[in-house]
């Protein structure tokens, strides 16, 4: 006679989490069906769907950034450069060469990955803030390059892409990519490759002397994250139908993806997802009426997070696998 089940508390929590995740995903998948379309009224309006798409893109970008900066500890202030390469690949190929949309994503992904491997080989032997600044420099250099190569990029006035106002399509693309990327990073973190990344974060020379080819691991991780950000850039460009150097290589985008990661929990997998979601919710709900203030509030939020919640929301939820942002920062400057 069985008197009690084998299920422990941990299994219940894991089960509840899985169900919650499934419900959330199902909700996200079904959402466009209840959105307004073609004059028909819906439960959510078009701008909400647009906003959610932007949020999902931020989830992917923040996850990519966190994969590099949170797992290997290389604090990257130039990651938006790869987003920009993707945006310009799609922009140039669609508006100048008349390519259809999807092949341009592949070109953007490959060019971002190749650029990341080349830039990474040059910058990833730099330690601490030297790396951060070199990446910031690469980002600024690409922006200026987009400004001066006018025949290709349209220069300062920018490029106009063929308009395509299919909001659900962009929403599903962004959702699909976010789910795939988060699942990929979650899986990778559990593999020996992920362990090597953590080893690099904790003690890079030590890892190298214990047989880990740190250059390979760093470069591969860098290329993978950049490839994903390149794809986001392409989608963003097509959805926005217009790109110029300043809106693509936007300084605050770098800050935004870093804040989303730190807010959720640096070095955790769920952290950037939660952080990006929360950041967007705050922006849309709380700051909608204080638009010119939102960067100030974001800055204050980052300061508050560092001081009060250095392990982010995931740390608050008891996830110990992340990185204390204060320690990360202090160590980063000692390297």
């Amino acid at each position: 006679m069985r008197t009690c089940t084998e299920a422990t508390r941990g299994q219940w929590i894991a089960g509840a989490r899985r169900v919650g995740l499934a419900v959330l995903l199902a909700g996200l998948v079904l959402l466009p069906l209840v959105a307004e379309r073609g004059g028909r009224e819906g439960m959510i309006n078009n701008s909400t769907l647009f906003s959610l798409t932007q949020m999902l893109m931020l989830v992917t970008l923040a996850s990519n950034w966190n994969f590099i900066s949170g797992l290997t500890g290389y604090i990257d202030f130039g990651h938006v450069a790869f987003f920009g390469l993707g945006a310009y690949s799609t922009g140039i190929l669609m508006s100048k060469a008349g390519w259809p949309f999807f092949p341009t994503l592949a070109v953007g992904a490959v060019s971002a990955a190749v650029a990341a491997v080349l830039i990474g080989r040059a910058t990833m032997h730099l330690k601490g803030p030297y790396f951060s600044i070199a990446m910031l420099g690469s980002f600024a250099a690409l922006r200026e390059m987009a400004r001066v190569t006018t025949p290709l990029t349209g220069g300062g006035p920018g490029l106009t892409l063929p308009p395509y106002l299919n909001r659900p399509l962009f929403y599903y693309l962004a959702l699909g990519q976010a789910v795939l990327v988060v699942a990929l990073y979650r899986w990778l973190k559990g593999t020996e490759f992920g362990l090597m990344m953590l080893g690099i974060r904790e003690d890079e020379p030590g890892a190298e002397m214990r047989g880990v080819n740190t250059t390979f691991v760093k470069t591969a991780a860098f290329g993978l994250a950049a490839m994903s950000s390149g794809i986001v850039g392409g989608m963003w460009a097509y959805q926005n139908t217009f790109i110029d150097p300043d809106i693509v290589f936007l300084d605050s985008r770098t800050i935004e993806i870093a804040i989303a990661s730190v807010l959720g929990g640096l070095g955790t997998i769920a952290g950037p997802v939660i952080g990006a979601g929360l950041l967007y919710w705050l922006r849309d709900v709380v700051w909608a009426n204080f638009l010119e203030w939102h960067l100030i509030v974001e800055g204050l939020l980052l300061i508050a997070m560092v001081l009060l919640l250095p392990n982010g929301i995931m740390g608050l939820l008891g996830d110990r696998s992340g990185l204390d942002v204060r320690q990360a920062w202090a160590r980063w400057f000692r390297r």
Binding site: E192, F193, A207, R210, G211
Partner: protein, 254 residues
């Protein structure tokens, strides 16, 4: 009968930092099965020699051979993968990772190609880690963060990590410094077992002269980046030059 090359050979190795000569024309030969002690005052170049041999520091002049291959300009991970492990004077464990993850991360890499790292550690690797944690008496602490272990336990963990790759040559840098006497005995006991039962070749930097006398077949004395003396334990520690440099002229019994 063929003459086998020495397991490790340094030929006229020189290294300077700025104007400071850390190593000058150092020759070192280690044969399979040896236990060699390296002694010398602080700053005499002992650790620098380990750094140069393992590829952590690029040497200025000279060559280093391991298993007959020139490893002078190989990167540290390549040298490690050839079967050369070391521990560190200042302890390098991954403090924020568990003891078990520290061990798994120190396995023999590169044996099954790059795709093999795209999965969790193989059960054989985990099993080996468990066995070695037992060997260094840390099995009960396997789930704890390495940074939470005591200094002596971290030394033991480092030895365990160094053994994960099943190295042919083990370089131990002050494996017993700052460790309580019970753990010193444990460590020295493990060194004997490794050499005699497992056939490991060991080079150890050590300040504990009694331990060196107990464990080593051969001693190399360093002073100011130069090899001062080399030979059997008895002969070396009675050499007046060594006594003058290392013991300040007072001798062992002073």
């Amino acid at each position: 009968m063929t003459v086998r090359p020495p397991l490790l050979e340094g030929r006229r190795v020189s290294k300077s930092f700025g104007g400071l000569a850390a190593l000058t024309d150092v020759d070192l030969t280690v044969h399979t099965g040896d236990v060699v002690g390296i002694v010398g005052p602080n700053g005499s170049g002992k650790t620098t020699l380990f750094d140069c041999v393992t590829g952590m520091e690029e040497i200025d002049e000279g060559r280093v051979f391991f298993k007959g291959c020139d490893i002078t300009h190989r990167r540290p991970s390549q040298v490690a993968r050839m079967g050369l492990s070391r521990t560190f004077q200042g302890i390098r464990v991954y403090r924020k990772l568990t003891v078990m993850d520290n061990m798994l991360l120190s396995r023999q890499w590169g044996d099954r190609g790059w795709l093999s790292v795209l999965r969790p550690s193989h059960p054989r690797v985990t099993e080996r880690a468990n066995g070695l944690l037992d060997f260094v008496t840390l099995l009960p602490q396997r789930a704890e963060l390495a940074g939470s272990l005591s200094w002596g336990q971290q030394r033991l963990l480092e030895i365990g990590m160094a053994l994960m790759s099943d190295p042919d040559l083990l370089l131990l840098d002050e494996a017993t410094s700052g460790v309580n006497p019970t753990l010193v005995d444990a460590i020295s006991d493990r060194i004997v077992t490794l050499n005699q039962a497992h056939g490991k070749t060991i080079v150890l930097i050590e300040h504990n002269i009694d331990l060196v006398a107990d464990l080593c077949d051969r001693v190399v004395v360093f002073d100011h980046g130069e090899k001062l003396a080399e030979g059997g334990v008895g002969a070396v520690f009675e050499d007046p030059v060594v006594i003058e440099a290392y013991f300040g002229g007072r001798g062992l019994d002073a």
